[in-house]
């Protein structure tokens, strides 16, 4: 998990800010004993650190601190229209970890949050409680969708990065196993897949790997594993029978010859993994709420922030013509090698 540092920046998690209420949860102890070199600072409420306006999220990425807090607010949210719901009506997401150690230039979290410090909510049991309540509510009202819930649990972070210090995976796997009416989705770019080998694959747990051409990874997805390593992780879990989706999302404009590069990329995927075994593929071009884009421009120096996007209904994305061209091109390339009924466009 260590990110290479300039010698004058602190280690990742050099500081842990702990809400006094979080001390009542055993998970807090477990996490702090694993990070026993970190300095601890007690706080009353995580927003004292997380939501301050006068921070610099760009620099914080060099040395993120950890915040341990109790979520007292909402635990599950209705999915955003910017994301795909696989034609299921009951698409929800939850976030027990907020922010990420990867550093993608297009990450909407950088526009949404005032801080890049990593926030863990330690009252995981309250999440399970709340989700069970929702499952029951939906069961009683079959007119709402097919009585099933699709829940993305890594919406505001790449949670697999943290399994070593916040052991959540077993609990979610147990929960999925006990609750067949819920499908849980974990989105990741990490290659931290080995933990899954300790469990039997579940029909209702999907791992979605987000992949991009290697050139885009190098330019815009700092600290993330290479495409090759991601594909290797995918093929390992596919062999073990895990249900895996691919997200070609966000598709980025990577220069005038983007078509060639995406073509090459799609070819390389089909060579490295058995696409027939992939459960679904989603496609979507870069899109972001315009207010988040404003914050990108204030702090970040990536061309992703300054491209002349078009904004409709508060969402900025590539101009319509380029957008359609990109989607159509990638779709048509994929269609040649993958069953199109399982391709979803966001």
């Amino acid at each position: 998990m260590k990110i290479s540092k300039q010698n004058y920046t602190n280690e990742t998690f050099s500081h842990i800010y702990i809400e006094k209420d979080a001390l009542n949860y055993p998970l807090t102890n477990e996490i702090t004993s694993k990070l026993n070199k970190s300095k601890i600072v007690y706080i009353d409420n995580y927003n004292e650190i997380f939501s301050r306006k006068n921070q610099n999220p760009f620099l914080q990425k060099l040395s993120p601190s950890l915040i341990l807090a109790v979520n007292r607010g909402d635990f599950i949210y209705k999915g955003s229209p910017l994301c795909h719901d696989f034609e299921q009506q009951n698409f929800y997401y939850t976030n027990f970890i907020v922010n990420c150690l990867f550093d993608c230039d297009y990450c909407y979290l950088k526009g949404m949050n005032f801080s890049s410090h990593i926030l863990f909510f330690v009252n995981l049991s309250d999440y399970f409680h709340e989700i069970s309540r929702l499952i029951n509510e939906i069961k009683e009202r079959p007119e709402r969708g097919q009585g099933k819930i699709y829940l993305s649990i890594s919406y505001d972070s790449d949670i697999l990065l943290f399994e070593g210090i916040y052991p959540f995976l077993k609990e979610w796997i147990d929960f999925a196993e006990a609750n067949p009416l819920i499908t849980i989705e974990i989105r990741t770019k990490s290659t931290n897949y080995k933990k899954f080998l300790n469990y039997s694959p579940l029909e209702n747990l999907i791992i979605t790997w987000s992949i991009s051409p290697q050139e885009a990874i190098e330019k815009y997805e700092k600290n993330t594993p290479s495409l090759e390593r991601r594909l290797l992780a995918i093929s390992q879990l596919l062999q073990k029978g895990w249900k895996i989706n691919l997200a070609l999302d966000p598709i980025l404009y990577i220069g005038e010859n983007w078509q060639e590069k995406y073509k090459e990329f799609i070819n390389s995927i089909s060579k490295k993994i058995n696409l027939k075994k992939i459960n679904a593929i989603t496609l979507g071009v870069f899109r972001i709420p315009v207010d988040y884009l404003k914050r990108f421009k204030k702090f970040f120096k990536s061309p992703i922030a300054f491209f002349p996007y078009q904004t409709t209904n508060g969402v900025s994305t590539y101009p319509e013509e380029l957008k359609s061209e990109m989607i159509e091109f990638v779709y048509s390339e994929l269609e040649k090698i993958y069953n199109k009924t399982n391709i979803y466009v966001v």
Binding site: N10, E11, V41, I43, N54, Q55, L62, P303, F306, P308
Partner: protein, 278 residues
Amino acid sequence: MLYIISAIDIEARAIIKYLNLKKTTDRPFETYQNEEVHLVISGVGKINAAGATSYLLKDTLKSYTHNDYAINIGICGSLNNKFNVGDLVLVNKVVDYERKRKYYTDILVEHNLKEGSIQSIDTLHSNYEFEEDLVDMESSAFFEIASKFLSVHQVYVLKIVSDKVSKNQPLERLTNKYIDELIRGKLEEILTFTKSVSSLLKQFQPLLQQQDEEIIKKISISLKLTFSQMKQFEKAYAYFKSNKKVSPLFLKEYFNYIPKSKKERDAIFEDLKTKLYK
């Protein structure tokens, strides 16, 4: 630029001497400076600290560099056994005791200093509760005001423990010589810390610097761009710089070009935009 705030003259004396700072003003606060450091002596207490901080940091808002940082340096009392007399402590939590406000610096920089929390109180005579590790009379006001000018990773409190405070015991009177020696003993460590902060801050420079703003302004004037064109121009300029990692200096050619008509201006403008978005 490093901005230093100390409450009393003797807390700053060693620093002024070591950095060879020259006195610049007497009123409303005594200030000293050289090319890299500005120092102010605020006087004792939160109101003085707030006023002096504000006075000292007023120019940082104009800065394009983001290399500015402010440190409150001084002595403090220790309220528990975590720290000994003579310890230099980087404060990670500042509490305004009377107003119950809390401030946290963002410690992104690596250092070997001890860290602890401090409570700032209004008067030394009141019978206050010992809630944090240390106690002083300025840092909360300093922090509150400084973080209105700067981001929290640019604001620090460095304190040297001068005495142990115990309940219902009268405070010792500290001599000037004693305080001066305490500070002098920690000068090296203080300056090592400031160097690290300064290196970290150099990592973050806003995309558009003063030179860029000047180019944008000059061309907008000479080409007589409309307000909306100027805004578009700024965006295209930023795209070029973020993409190519250099400023579009080729634009200097247009500095003295005066278009003969609106039509010509619009044509040049479109051409400029195309070049910048390439």
